[in-house]
């Protein structure tokens, strides 16, 4: 074989091996966490290992639409995960345990199912005993209907209620507020001489006095980011996903328990007084923390902190009560 032929064959072989080998090598050395809509598989991988105190560097990319990434119960800014691009993030965990990471962009109907876990190993420096949520210690059945037997004619006003503050019973503790529905408090106030509408105003005032402007603002923000897609910006249960949820319910109704499933796919309407005034903050805590069994309502216990859940609950009641002029 002539030298030129041999050289050209070597050159071609090297070029082909290089063209195949180099990208494969670099590709195999770049582990990426892929985000896809939940119906296409969600996060891949969806379990990440980490160690307490050791920063982990994650490279995130989206294979379809815009997603977001955040870790539940962790003080961090969510980052966007853009299609075809790579987002770098470094996380450090100071406590061991199971953390949930989740999508923060409304990527699709099953956005809420886009979750994964980070298993953080290591010895706890500051062991924290687990506390039992209030709705559990009160033994509340989160799934039974809890409608109020009567509802106010006009929206209860905390401003008007404040003027009646002198007539408030003295023993209104935080625990009392948390464990009673507005309707139960309204009933408890029946031994006063106030009219129904004034009693409702007083209930509104009690609810307002158990929260702060900051809590409401935080609750509003959490609501807008996480709840409004289904429950609607104004709480009316008419978020942007509602039509799709109904369609999904309709199709599941053909094979499952029929109308019941469709009903379950309808997000709660927080502007409905019968529903909202009949539920206590502890009951709502259960619904948010645990999620709605068999419904589209996801569990948020691994994502929100306790404080965030109470802030959210305080905000959800604001759809019923007038707190400001």
């Amino acid at each position: 074989m002539k030298r030129s032929e041999l050289l050209s064959r070597i050159l071609i072989t090297v070029a082909i091996v290089g063209a195949v080998g180099a990208p494969l090598l670099l590709w195999s050395r770049t582990p990426l966490i892929h985000a896809q809509m939940a119906e296409n598989g969600g996060w891949s991988p969806d379990v990440i290992q980490a160690e307490v105190g050791k920063p982990i560097h994650l490279k995130l990319t989206s294979d379809d639409v815009m997603h977001g990434f955040a870790v539940g119960q962790m003080d961090m800014e969510a980052v966007d995960v853009e299609p075809g691009k790579v987002t770098d993030i470094t996380l450090t965990f100071d406590k061991p345990g199971m953390y949930t990471f989740y999508c923060t962009r409304w990527c699709g109907l099953n956005h809420w199912r886009m979750r994964g876990t980070i298993e953080v190993s290591g010895s706890p420096s500051d062991p924290e005993p687990a506390s039992i949520p209030l709705y559990v210690s009160l033994n509340l059945d989160v799934d039974t209907p809890h409608d109020a037997s009567s509802i106010p004619i006009d929206q209860p006003s905390a401003i008007r209620g404040k003027e009646l503050a002198a007539e408030l019973p003295a023993d209104l503790s935080v625990e009392y507020y948390l464990s009673h529905s507005p309707y139960q408090v309204f009933e408890d106030l029946s031994n006063t001489s106030l009219t129904d509408s004034k009693r409702w105003d007083m209930v509104a005032y009690i609810w307002q006095s158990n929260t702060t402007k900051e809590s409401l603002a935080n609750g509003k923000q959490l609501y807008a980011q996480n709840c409004a897609a289904c429950h609607g910006e104004n709480g009316a249960g008419n978020g942007v996903f509602v039509d799709d949820l109904k369609a999904a319910g309709d199709s599941s109704a053909q094979t499952m328990a029929g109308a019941q499933d469709m009903q379950m796919q309808t997000p709660a309407n927080f502007t409905d007084p019968t529903r909202m005034l009949g539920g206590s903050p502890a009951l709502l805590q259960g619904k948010i923390l645990r999620g709605g069994m068999g419904t589209g309502m996801p569990m948020w216990g691994s994502i929100f902190t306790k404080e965030q859940i109470w802030n959210l609950i305080a905000y959800i009641y604001s759809f019923q009560f007038q707190y400001r002029n």
Binding site: M1, K2, S4, E5, S8, R9, L11, I12, A15, I16, G18, A19, V20, P23, L24, L26, W27, T30, L32, K59, T61, S62, D63, D64, P83, G84, K85, V86, D88
Partner: protein
């Protein structure tokens, strides 16, 4: 315009004659092609950030349809990497002269396939799946791989470049439109070829291989089937091969008489119009149908697509020329006058391509720096944002291309009609109508 023989320049001639510059280009192209396959298969599934989609369907397509075909004819075929592995395998060599006995089966392609109908079909197959193919990297990777292996397979069964000549989905239209390019490979003196013994340009010699495109250069009258591989420049013992600069569309002065080529003109004209409507138009229902391959909506789309190309466009054309007075049979009139659609079809594709190329060209920068979507930033351009380019000149440029194409086709129609002695008016009216439809679709 008189022809200018470019190969008179010793530099050009030597570059063409030597195998080394071509080999260098081949290796670069092959590496790029293999990288595109790999990017499609292992890179991000997001098409706009994957090298395979951005470099094949945006960058390569732009270069092909806006520059290579109109100005260099089969210039792309001259550097295309797809046939190379098969051809090297077939020859058993990269540079060495051919052996006496062929290494493989070396069969002749059956006569019934020695036309461009298979290319018409392969183009239409890709065209019907194009919405998915053009946006899904792994499908692009698979199709590019399939073409590479089809070329290798055909090289081991048949003689010469059977894939390029008879199957390549883009080769058919490149050949058709190469007739308008201002560049050609031709012999200098026919008498030399007539007297030439052994015809090494076709049969090969120690200096090189017989024409891989199965063309006898001595009989070349149009660019359609000359792949500009330069093999005949190397094998001609009489230095009788020239690369000429010539006037645009010189080949169209002699209209085609072949139905496969005539239908190719309709396939290209029709698919440019359908793409303009489906991919660029405001009708979501068409886009969905084109994208959801395998659904009933897609089948309806496919039927409409094929009906426009095989029934509606040629049907109206036939109706138009039916009453022209001529002694020629209708089939021959049809084939000859369809030649007039070649410049128009090319300009339809130019106008359509301008739209999506200028819209998407900015993806090239990002894909260059991060070709697999792995977060690399090789040239510092990974974060270049998507930005449509030259939007203000898009509509005028498209209008210019379409109106220019119409005038060009009208003149071609006149010449073709003169050649077969019939009236060109029905063809010119036909061109006017389809151009108006295309203008409406694009603007």
């Amino acid at each position: 315009m008189a022809k200018i023989e470019l190969t008179r320049s010793p530099l050009i001639k030597n570059v063409m004659k030597s195998r080394y510059p071509q080999l260098a280009v081949f290796i670069v192209m092959l590496v790029g092609y293999i990288f595109a396959i790999l990017a499609g298969l292992i890179g991000t599934p997001v098409g706009s950030h994957n090298f395979s989609i951005v470099f094949v369907w945006i960058a390569w397509w732009a270069v092909l349809i806006l520059v290579a075909v109109p100005f260099f004819g089969r210039g792309w075929c001259a550097v295309c990497p797809i046939p190379l592995p098969g051809e090297w395998l077939q020859r058993g060599a990269v540079l060495s002269p051919p052996e006496k006995r062929p290494k493989w089966l070396n069969l002749r392609v059956p006569k019934m396939f020695r036309n461009i109908w298979l290319q018409n079909i392969s183009f239409l197959l890709l065209a019907l799946f194009s919405s998915v193919l053009l946006t899904t990297p792994n499908i692009t990777g698979i199709v590019l791989t399939a073409m590479l292996f089809a070329a290798i397979g055909l090289s081991t069964i048949f003689e010469r470049r059977a894939f390029c000549r008879y199957l390549c989905p883009v080769g058919g239209f490149i050949g058709l439109y190469s007739q308008v390019a201002p560049i050609e490979l031709r012999i200098k003196d026919k008498q030399i070829c007539v007297k030439c013994e052994g015809k090494p340009c076709y049969n090969g010699s120690q200096a090189g291989y017989g024409c891989p495109w199965d063309v006898f250069p001595g009989g070349l009258a149009k660019n359609t089937y000359c792949g500009l591989c330069m093999e005949c420049i190397r094998t001609c013992p009489h230095d009788n091969i020239a690369i000429n600069l010539r006037s645009f569309s010189a080949d169209l002065a002699r209209p085609s008489t072949r139905m496969d080529e005539a239908f190719k003109a309709f396939i290209m004209l029709g698919s440019a119009m359908i793409y303009a409507g489906v991919l660029l138009g405001p009708w979501g229902v068409f886009k969905d149908a084109a994208y959801n391959v395998g659904t009933s909506a897609w089948f309806v789309y496919a039927i409409i697509f094929l009906s426009i190309i095989f029934v509606i466009l040629p049907g109206f054309f036939t109706l138009g020329i039916l009453r022209t007075k001529s002694a020629l049979p209708l089939k021959q009139r049809f084939a000859s006058l369809a030649t007039a659609l070649i410049p128009l079809g090319l300009m339809f594709w130019v106008a359509f391509s301008l739209s999506f190329v200028l819209t998407n060209a900015s993806y090239i920068l990002a894909a260059l720096s991060d070709p697999l979507g792995l977060g690399w930033n090789l040239f510092g351009t990974a974060n270049a944002t998507w930005q449509p380019m030259l939007t203000s000149i898009l509509a005028p440029a498209q209008t210019l291309a379409l109106v220019g194409g119409l005038i060009w086709s009208a003149r071609t129609a006149q010449k073709a009609a003169d050649e077969v002695k019939i009236s060109s008016i029905p063809v010119i009216v036909y061109c006017l109508i389809v151009t108006s439809v295309m203008l409406w679709l694009l603007l």
